[in-house]
């Protein structure tokens, strides 16, 4: 009786496994190196490699070896390793894109066999575009501009929290402008716009709601433009327009670069807009 049961189980097992194997036709099995770290890596690697009915993959966490069984008429090891590399994992055939590697969770960021690809002519990869870090210069209005650009950059990133912080700093900078040091014509303009600037800055600082902030940013920008026309600080300022904002009525902003990075829609309409005026110092 017991033998019978064993035979039965063995039969079931055989059917079961052949059933599984039969899914992949024209089978070929190979074992190749794929670099990785942890259990999470295992899941990611196997998920990237597996393809129903075509590829079955098993990655060994101790040896870093990936065993793939695949239909050799439909795919090959290179194609499988490419998919694994796109998921962030290096092999001896492909080096994953740096972007994919960086996107791996921290615990999965294994030691790469080839650490860095020397980028041939890639000057200063991370140019600092964060204007708020600029050293204060002696120019009396520079703090206002600097913080304004800080607000603008935060809005480009649709980052309401940073926008609020920068706007608070802007508000302070506006109050701190030494009016006696302004030239007469700017003094007149400053008197006119000072309150508008402060109100707008305050409103932006008070909320993290990006929509609300952008509304006030529109009026902030227009006020500041009247000043920029006569005094731009030290740098060239580009007066730029987003034609779609506010139901097609449009809105403006100031920027230190000619390239359009629209603060009113963030990423959705990043390059939408045009420079309407170039204000030279």
């Amino acid at each position: 009786m017991k033998t019978f049961k064993n035979i039965f189980l063995a039969l079931v097992a055989t059917f079961f496994f052949t059933g599984c194997d039969a899914q992949i036709k024209n089978q070929k099995t190979e074992t190749v190196k794929v670099y990785g770290n942890c259990g999470m890596c295992k899941r990611t690697i196997e998920k990237a490699a597996n393809e129903k009915g075509l590829v079955k993959a098993n990655w060994n966490i101790d040896t870093d070896m990936l065993t793939v069984t695949y239909d050799q008429t439909k795919t090959n090891t290179d194609a499988i390793l490419k998919k694994v590399a796109y998921a962030g994992y290096d092999s001896d055939a492909f080096r994953a894109p740096d972007e994919a590697y960086k996107n791996l969770p921290e615990c999965c960021q294994y030691d790469r066999p080839v650490k860095e690809m020397a980028m041939a002519n890639n000057p200063s990869e991370h140019q600092d575009h964060n204007m708020t870090d600029m050293p204060q210069n002696s120019d009396v209005l520079s703090a206002v501009y600097t913080n304004y650009f800080g607000v603008k950059d935060a809005l480009i990133q649709s980052d309401g929290k940073t926008a609020a912080t920068k706007a608070a700093a802007l508000n302070k900078a506006i109050t701190a402008v030494p009016m006696d040091k302004l030239k007469p014509e700017q003094h007149t303009i400053w008197m006119k716009i000072q309150n508008d600037l402060k109100t707008a800055a305050k409103h932006i600082a008070e909320t993290n709601d990006i929509k609300h902030q952008r509304d006030h940013f529109a009026s902030l920008s227009e006020s500041l433009y009247t000043l920029a026309k006569s005094e731009t600080g030290r740098n060239t300022i580009y007066y730029q327009k987003c034609p779609m904002y506010n139901d097609g009525k449009g809105a403006f902003w100031l920027s230190q670069e000619n390239t359009i990075k629209n603060p009113y829609y963030g990423s959705a309409m990043l390059t939408c807009g045009s420079t309407v005026e170039t204000l030279k110092p």
Binding site: K82, Y86, F94, L104, P105, N122, M244, T271
Partner: protein
Amino acid sequence: MKSLLSLFIALFTLNAWSQNVKEYDLYVSDTIVNYTGKKVKGIAINGSIPAPTLHFTEGDTAVIRVHNKMHHETSIHWHGLLLPNEQDGVPYLTTAPIKGMSTHTYKFPIKQSGTYWYHSHTMLQEQNGMYGAFIIHKKEAAPMPEYTMLLSDWTDANPHEIERSLHKANDWYAIKKGATQNYAEAIGKGHFKTKLANEWKRMHAMDVSDVYYERFFVNGKTEDQAPQFKPGEKVRIRVINGSASTYFWINYAGGKIDVVASDGMDVQPVPVDRFIVGVSETYDIIVTIPEKGNAFELVATAEDRTGQASLWLGSGLKQLQQPLPKLKYFEGMKMMNDMMTVGGNMKDMGMNMSLQQMDMNAVMYPEITEKKQPKKSAVIPEMSQHDHGQHGGANPDIVTLNYAMLKSPVKTNLPDGPVRTLHFELTGNMNRYVWTLNNKTISESDKVMIKKGENIRIVITNNSMMRHPMHLHGHFFRILNGQGDYAPLKNVLDIMPMETDTIEFHASEEYGDWYFHCHILYHMMAGMGRIFTYENSPPNPQLPDPKKALKMVYNDDRRYYFSAEVGLESNGSDGEMRLENTRNFFDVEWRLGLDKKSGYETEAHFGRYLDKNQYLSVYTGFDFRYHNSLERDKNLFGQMSTQDQRAVACIGIIYQLPWLINADMRVDHEGKARMQFTRKDIPVTERLRLWGSWNTDFEYSVGSRYILTKYWSLSAHYDSDMGLGGGLVLTY
């Protein structure tokens, strides 16, 4: 003695001249290829797809014998070359077609240098594989190693079948691409309103390209290898887009790309992260193989991102480039909704768009729009400090080439001459695949007469929903891009929807007809172009019967396309057959019952589209029907309807309403009026379509169709006369 000397001189000059002659023999033949596991027809030159690369040096005389080993005619056009008109290779327009089993010899002096290419200008042969690189080297030796990257698109489908499907707005290709943009998907992505608004504005699913391609190629391969380049080496890559209808993004895993020439003409080097190469454009770029013993991927991704092809530079471990993520179609749809008026015009909202500077498609590019979220990780707070670069900030910094960045190294001002300005509006109807300039096809418009010595300035506005690579034969034009005297010279202008660009060229040739057309093959064949003709051109000896020849040219866009939808269902057969071209249509509709009781109905019409957007058409036709079972009823207009028996002639008018509803108002010779509303093919899910119709005789029907293959669907519908039925539908 003197005669001996002159003989000697004559021999010497002859010798010198003959040294400069470079000869090629090209054998064009039908072939069978297998790229995808399926054997299909292709056309090869000297046995290969793509055709062999031809190399010349500036100052050579080219002699190229084209041996047509096929039983149908062909042609070869030398793209971007300055040459006598009869050598240009447009069959029937400039050059005699190369008949089956015959040889044609081209001979022309090479007066320029740079990266060009050649292809068939006959029907859709280019799609079948008739394209090759045409490289002209400068007289002085090349300063660095170089490699040619000829890009192309491949489909297993018969190109004529593709063309027919496009004219029928069959969305099978969208299904294959996962780009049907159906309602279920829209709801799932929170874009129901967007989809609704889109259809309200009478737009079908929008895409950046029309055709589904099985493969994309670099030099005829999905992956091409160039292991000969050493680390640290600078390499000039000659990128040629020889595809029929695919734009390609170019990205490099080894760093920046220096763009140094376009369409064969040098530009001042511009470093970029990526650029798009329009159909038929060429770019020369310089890339550096980084100082590590590896191979780096230079990858060309189809604009619709359904596939890519790579060139590996260097040898060793392969450094992959991050592939471009899938397009966010609904973002694009939303943008289109904003840009399109209900009247079917594109409005640029005062943005003065030009020169590819503002890529509205960027709303669909996840790599530009999506802020990188820090990955799930237990230690986010700490890593976010030093990992500043990962947070979104990096994305806006991708430098993409646009035309405003191209600057010629030398002044390109045109010679003095009278200036004439022409305005071309690029127009089109996506639903019927009609593509025109100023709402006229090539055959519908007169040739544009030009005089030698005058300067032609063309202001082009793209009022269609797709981008178009406009190509001018035999001349270079300047793109007025703000670079003043140093405006770049090109022969292809990619113009995006809503853009307005200005180009100008000097009428420097002596005579002949020069094509100016959209280089997307299926747009050109639909008639999107013009012919520039020099006044007082002498007769072309290659075209003994110019009238007949011109008619052959015009026939390309006068062709009729056949389509049919035949239902075989349990309650009878419904169907429609259509024959249509740019403006006209013939159609026959029928509903046949299975027995005498349910009777039959047939209608046949001949009609014509009237307006620019082709919302409006008129028709005349006749209508037969017989129903045994039906009672006569009054219709909505109080007239006694003739549902039971009818044999009338009628005239009618069809207007496409918002939400793609066709309103059909007609009156028959007995004075009976009928108004019918029909909406076809509402995309509910990827493969499920709903339709419905109702008319003032109080007849109605609703149905659904589930698409199985390109030609077959399962269907079910209810008809007020025929009742409920289900079965199969053949869509041809």
